[in-house]
Amino acid sequence: MATRSPVLGDDFVELSVPADTRHLRLARLAASGYGADLGYSIDDIEELRLAVGEACALLVDNSTPDGRLVLRYGVEGELLIIEGRCPGGTDDQVFVDPVAQAVMVNTVDSFDIARHDSHNSFRITKRTPQR
């Protein structure tokens, strides 16, 4: 059973997959589905799909061999929040190259990636559509 999220409470969708690039499309697919349920436009959904794929690729690229990528999709107030975490395999900060950085800046409202003692994590926010 998933543990309660300090930000999202209990109302979130969780996806856990092996930290392997072949599963990135599942993370993107979940983002598309969750975004569609929230009423985002097709363009916004495509941007979300792109951003989640980029963020997950960064974690997977820095993962330990048997690590799992865990994603949570939820809403807090007027924000869609997507959090990801994965066991990290290096001591360095995760490097975000300029192309990936440009993608994140232009597709979501905020993107943070952080290195912790034993894992890396990211947090994406995007304002939910006006109802």
């Binding site: 690039t21 072949r22 599963h23 990135l24 499309r25 993107r28 495509e46 941007e47 799909r49 792109l50 794929g53 980029e54 690729a57 997977v60 690229d61 190259d97 192309v99 990936a100 440009a102 993608v103 232009n106 597709t107």
Partner: protein
């Protein structure tokens, strides 16, 4: 999921010094290496002076796919050969726009 289920395919047609590669599917970190390998073979051939990538059927592309294309562009430019991106899909067009590369590559 096996590698047989990769969601990317490409076909190559070479006529004289011109090569056309038609790419279809999802171009992400799981598939970009396959395309990079095929493009490496092509860009290293001295008898090829022009490579066209037909991207009309690319349903998804991220920075890994774009880097693969940029690497091919640099390899070809370094020997005065040409890379053209033909009929970019909406996904490709969006990424080129976001990254400000639409004006820097030959897109038709």
């Amino acid at each position: 999921m096996t590698d047989n289920e990769k969601k990317l395919s490409f076909d190559l047609a070479v006529e004289g010094s011109e090569a056309v590669m038609t790419v279809a599917g999802e171009l992400d970190p799981h598939t970009a290496d396959d395309l990079a390998g095929a493009l490496d073979d092509l860009t290293s051939r001295d008898d090829i002076s022009s490579v066209t990538l037909d991207l009309a059927e690319v349903s998804f592309i991220d920075s890994s796919g774009l880097r693969t294309i940029l690497t091919a562009h640099e390899a070809l430019s370094s020997r005065d050969a040409q890379l053209t991106l033909r009929s970019p899909s909406e996904a490709v067009h969006r990424l080129l726009e976001i990254t400000d590369l639409l004006e820097h590559l030959d897109v038709r």
